[in-house]
Symmetry: C2
Subunit: 268 residues, 2 copies
């Protein structure tokens, strides 16, 4: 028997911050003292929680009271999104992994799905991994079986990755067998991203790889972003999760796009 009821320290903190955010939004504004009593925490902790929320742009602190900010931002915040679709991402990673053969040179972009892919890679050794994503670099620096090629350049803290013209130049120095990338949003069957730098970097990756894999979880079909990267028809295969509406899958297939539906993983 395991212990699902045991809330981790980290979970508890996040749950509490969520609850506080909810409190604030419910009433529009709340006294900090009230939060202290309601949640049975110290004043200091209340302040720390609130500062975290302020940093995310969810609430505002003003001398003793906390005020809510427009809810759209709140919902967009990763506080409410983080860690979701974990099962989907794992399934996508597993499906993508099937395309990798020992000896390949693989480009991985900066996305949480590719991060999920990393633990699966050791099975495919020897392998060359090329990436601009710092968490992957850190993970793989300890792996003796894999050759790691980091794509340097300017570091972007919000993405935890390296992007920009230096990164693009570095990518042009390599030729990979396969690139596995994800996207922020899909509109009219075209990939979109939040910033131009992202697009430049990913496009270079795209052009340096023989086989192009796109990884998409079903939420991406509902989202929008500013900068176009490429139409889905340019990819050799699009991998979607099992919760993707059938209409999307069918439409893409009718366009001649290779679509893999990653099935839910059971057991484990």
């Amino acid at each position: 028997m395991k212990e699902p009821p045991t809330e981790g320290r980290l979970d508890r903190q996040r749950a509490r911050q969520r609850a506080i955010a909810a409190d604030v939004m419910a009433d529009g504004s709340v006294r900090i003292e009230a939060l202290v009593e309601k949640h049975g925490i110290s004043l200091m902790t209340a302040h720390r929680d609130l500062d975290a929320l302020v940093a995310r742009g969810i609430v505002r602190k003003t001398r003793g009271v906390v005020t809510a900010l427009p809810s759209s931002l709140v919902e967009a915040s990763d506080l409410f999104r983080r860690g979701r679709q974990q099962a989907e991402k794992a399934a996508l990673a597993r499906a993508a992994c099937a395309w990798i053969e020992p000896g390949h040179a693989v480009i991985l972009d900066d996305s949480t799905t590719t991060l999920n892919l990393v633990p699966l890679l050791t099975d495919k050794a020897p392998l060359t991994v090329i990436t601009n994503f710092l968490p992957i670099i850190e993970d793989l620096s300890g792996e003796p079986d894999l050759t790691l090629i980091a794509l340097g350049g300017r570091f972007h803290p919000w993405a935890n990755s390296f992007m920009g013209h230096m990164t693009v130049a570095a990518i042009r120095e390599v030729r990979a067998d396969i690139v596995i990338m994800s996207t922020s949003a899909i509109t009219d069957d075209i990939c979109f991203h939040q910033t131009e730098e992202t697009v430049h970097t990913k496009r270079a990756m795209f052009e340096s790889a023989a086989t192009r894999l796109l990884i998409v979880d079903h939420t991406k079909f509902d989202r929008r972003a500013l900068h176009a990267l490429a139409p889905l028809t340019d990819f050799d295969q699009v991998i979607v999760d099992w919760r993707t509406p059938a209409e999307h899958v069918e439409r893409l297939r009718n366009k001649g796009i290779g679509v893999t539906v990653a099935p839910a993983v059971r057991g484990r």
Copy 2:
């Protein structure tokens, strides 16, 4: 009073691995069982330690016995560089820091001395830091005040850094105000390094910076290495620690080389 005797878990592990490596090198080859007894550890732990050393290319495992590999690489390994002459390195870092001005673009090479420099950098913000050394990259990725430019390329586990032609190409893309580098050995007042890749990479750094600083602790005058980098006269300033024999300092100065002697830091 603090507790310098209390070895952290991590330190203990590293110290033990160092000791094991020393054992192996002393005799050329050692039985694994002997290591188990000598260090009072389990067979499993011995294997794990050895695997770590194998991964760094320091020793070889072959059915029950461990053999040493050529010592040049071993000495270059950060396992041995790390943690020695800590006071000297701190002093050198401090002296080097005096050359850095806010707004500068600074290249740091892969050395433990430059790693010591990192905590001092936040005072100089805004600053652009360019490096191929993974520990520095990891440290600075959390610093919002500094611009971090990573020099990518193939990862070399024994040095914990990126080197090779991709790295060189990346360096050529930038122009820095100052480069702070160290060296493995000094013979005939010329810098030497263990591998050609190191030399190529450092030379590129050298050529991309307006001001060149060389950091040298006193042990480097007693050591030798294979590949020449550049004569000391090519550097704008050579920073040595206070334990460097006066003869060296004088000789360099007579050659017209700018030499700074970093004084011992007291207190702290």
